[in-house]
């Protein structure tokens, strides 16, 4: 649709959109700015916007709390582990459904989705009990497995959508060329699906990183990730705005950056392909 839009119209659009965009983004921006202030400046009235003495003392303070690195590490292990494990389980399943569809494929896919809709709170105690029974309460392994299971439907679904776009003839050609099933998946399908697998990884890493029901309820000290670390600020400690901001910034920065890359996949991933 090539049509001349008056510069004036475009200018107005730009101004409104940027205004609203910045308003929505403001809490994040404010958090980042506050993280560089001293505690006194952070609560100053009237608030100081940019002209303050920038300091890194909050970051050092947060880092010095001996356990911050551990929380971060737990987040990485839990989000990364659950995502990788999920991909490992999901790739063969998605291959089957995309390339050897049967009458039941659709039902299986929908059923998988339906498990995603079970409210976590409905099964909180059983999971809690199982964790205790196997000595997995407050362990990273439990969370890796639980978050993997939680996101597995989305992972299968996303991969299925990507695989379906790969023409079946190419896989048949590989079969004719003498490739075994393993070689077919390893040499042909996986390399062709790399972009799809990458975006699936990304989105599910983000979802697992931000998950805050199981991570809050099943961890205490050892396995607690950043969600729990931040939640610990809900005590009066939270009144140290600058330190809270520094900790928050560190918890969300990596994901904001990853999220920026994944915005396209976000839509089809979270709507199970219903909106493209």
């Amino acid at each position: 649709m090539a049509r001349a839009v008056t510069q004036q119209r475009k200018l107005i659009n730009t101004a409104i959109a940027w205004g609203i965009g910045l308003l929505i983004f403001f809490p994040i921006l404010w958090t980042i700015l506050t993280s560089f202030k001293t505690e006194a400046t952070a609560i100053a009235d009237p608030p100081v916007f940019l002209n303050f003495d920038w300091t890194l003392e909050n970051y050092t303070a947060v880092m010095e709390r001996s356990n911050y690195a551990k929380f971060l590490w737990n987040s990485i292990i839990i989000a990364g582990g659950s995502t990788l494990l999920g991909i490992l389980v999901a790739v063969p399943a998605a291959w089957s459904m995309a390339f050897v569809p049967s009458k039941r494929t659709k039902d299986i896919l929908l059923w998988m989705l339906s498990t995603k809709m079970l409210p976590a709170v409905g099964v909180l105690y059983p999971i809690y009990l199982i964790c205790i029974k196997f000595g997995l309460l407050d362990s990273r392994l439990a969370l890796v497995v639980i978050l993997m299971l939680m996101n597995l439907p989305i992972i299968v679904w996303m991969l299925y959508t990507y695989f379906r776009e790969i023409p079946g003839e190419i896989l048949e050609a590989a079969r004719m060329d003498g490739a075994s099933l393993k070689e077919e998946i390893l040499y042909i399908l996986t390399p062709m699906a790399v972009p799809g697998i990458a975006s699936t990884l990304l989105l599910n890493f983000i979802l697992a990183w931000n998950e805050a029901f199981w991570t809050l309820n099943l961890t205490a000290v050892n396995a607690a990730p950043l969600t729990a670390f931040i939640a610990s600020y809900s005590s009066p400690e939270g009144l140290f705005f600058a330190k809270l901001s520094a900790a928050s910034t560190m918890a969300i920065a990596p994901i904001l950056i990853l999220g920026w890359f994944s915005q396209k996949q976000l839509v089809s991933g979270l709507t199970f392909g219903a909106v493209k």
Partner: protein, 334 residues
């Protein structure tokens, strides 16, 4: 060696019977074309031979060995797909090398075969490109190259030219024929285009609804079509089929006469009609004749040119020795 034999092969998808019991032998070194309208089961038949689909019952033999339950990779057949099915993430060289890599052929031998295939197929300059950077004809040649290097017992082609434009198609047709003459390997070629079938085949298998209508050499099919369907399907323009009183005169339910076997006159002849559209090809002229009282439209092929105008009266005379007669069951009467 590459003799392929189908014994009482059937295929059904659920309740739908695609291939009723079918027997067919393809001799070693033969260029066999499966031809038929879309949905006739010709691609399914090819995929059964390839092993990409299971047969529901019956037996497939390759070189006298039962191959019915042998997976595609182990049948020693190579296939060229309609979409070429090149691996988009590999260079042309890697594409061609892939089947040899799977077969565990050593690298020196791989390179030797790649070089010779590339030379034969004019791909030497493109070996390091990706399929996405090639034209349709070049991709087709890569797909053929990938098939050749395996030195298969037989080549299977699934409508390989249908994605090419008309000019390229004629060129590739010749290249594939040339390849067959040189390699003398069995080839099975599926197409819906009877011109491809006529020009390339040693043996044509005409299929309709999973049934073999006729097997024979191109000229055999042209001169002696076994039934009305083959008569109408083989030959271009299509044979004129006439029913009713005119057919009865010759003791048949239907008579067929090819457009090239009708003589034309502006003054006298057996049938009278009115000139419709005239298609001038230079070498030939196709006249479409209305109001003959025989069929809706009678097509006539004339060598060279003829000066007639739309709406002129015209007289047609069939060459009686070239008349094909068919009975009520559609079968040929001799």
């Amino acid at each position: 060696m590459g003799q392929i034999k189908l014994n009482q092969v059937t295929k059904s998808f659920g309740d739908v019977n695609v291939i009723p019991p079918l027997d067919l032998t393809i001799e070693d070194g033969e260029f066999t074309v499966f031809v038929g309208p879309s949905g006739c089961g010709k691609s399914t038949l090819l995929r059964l031979i390839a092993g990409l689909e299971d047969i529901s019952s019956g037996q497939i033999q390759i070189d006298g060995q039962d191959a019915t339950n042998v997976p595609p990779a182990k049948r020693g057949l190579a296939m060229v797909f309609q979409s070429y099915a090149l691996y988009p993430h590999m260079s042309v060289r890697k594409n061609i090398a892939f089947p040899m890599k799977m077969a565990g052929i050593d690298e020196a031998e791989q390179n030797r075969r790649i070089e010779s295939a590339a030379k034969a197929l004019n791909l030497t300059d493109y070996l390091d490109r990706r399929p996405g950077q090639l034209s349709g004809g070049q991709r087709q040649r890569v797909a053929i190259g990938r098939a050749i290097v395996r030195e298969p017992a037989a080549f299977l082609f699934d409508e390989p030219l249908s994605n090419l434009d008309a000019a390229l198609r004629v060129g590739m047709r010749l290249e594939i024929s040339e390849l067959h003459k040189r390699l003398k390997t069995t080839m099975i070629y599926v197409t819906h285009d009877q011109v491809e079938a006529m020009t390339m085949a040693d043996k044509i298998v005409v299929l309709r609804a999973g049934n073999i209508e006729q097997v024979g050499s191109p000229l055999d099919l042209y001169h002696n079509p076994r039934n009305e369907f083959v008569a109408g399907f083989i030959g271009s323009p299509k044979m004129n089929l006439v029913t009713g009183a005119e057919a009865q005169k010759h003791g048949a339910t239907t008579v067929g006469i090819r457009p090239e076997h009708i003589d034309v006159s502006t003054t006298e002849g057996t049938w009278k009609g009115r000139v419709g559209v005239a298609e001038h090809l230079g070498s030939d002229t196709f006249l479409h004749i209305h109001d003959t009282g025989l069929a809706d439209l009678v097509t006539v092929r004339i060598n060279g040119d003829i000066q007639v105008s739309h709406g002129d009266d015209i007289y047609l005379t069939p060459q009686l020795d070239k008349l094909h007669k068919f009975g009520a069951d559609g079968l040929r009467i001799n």
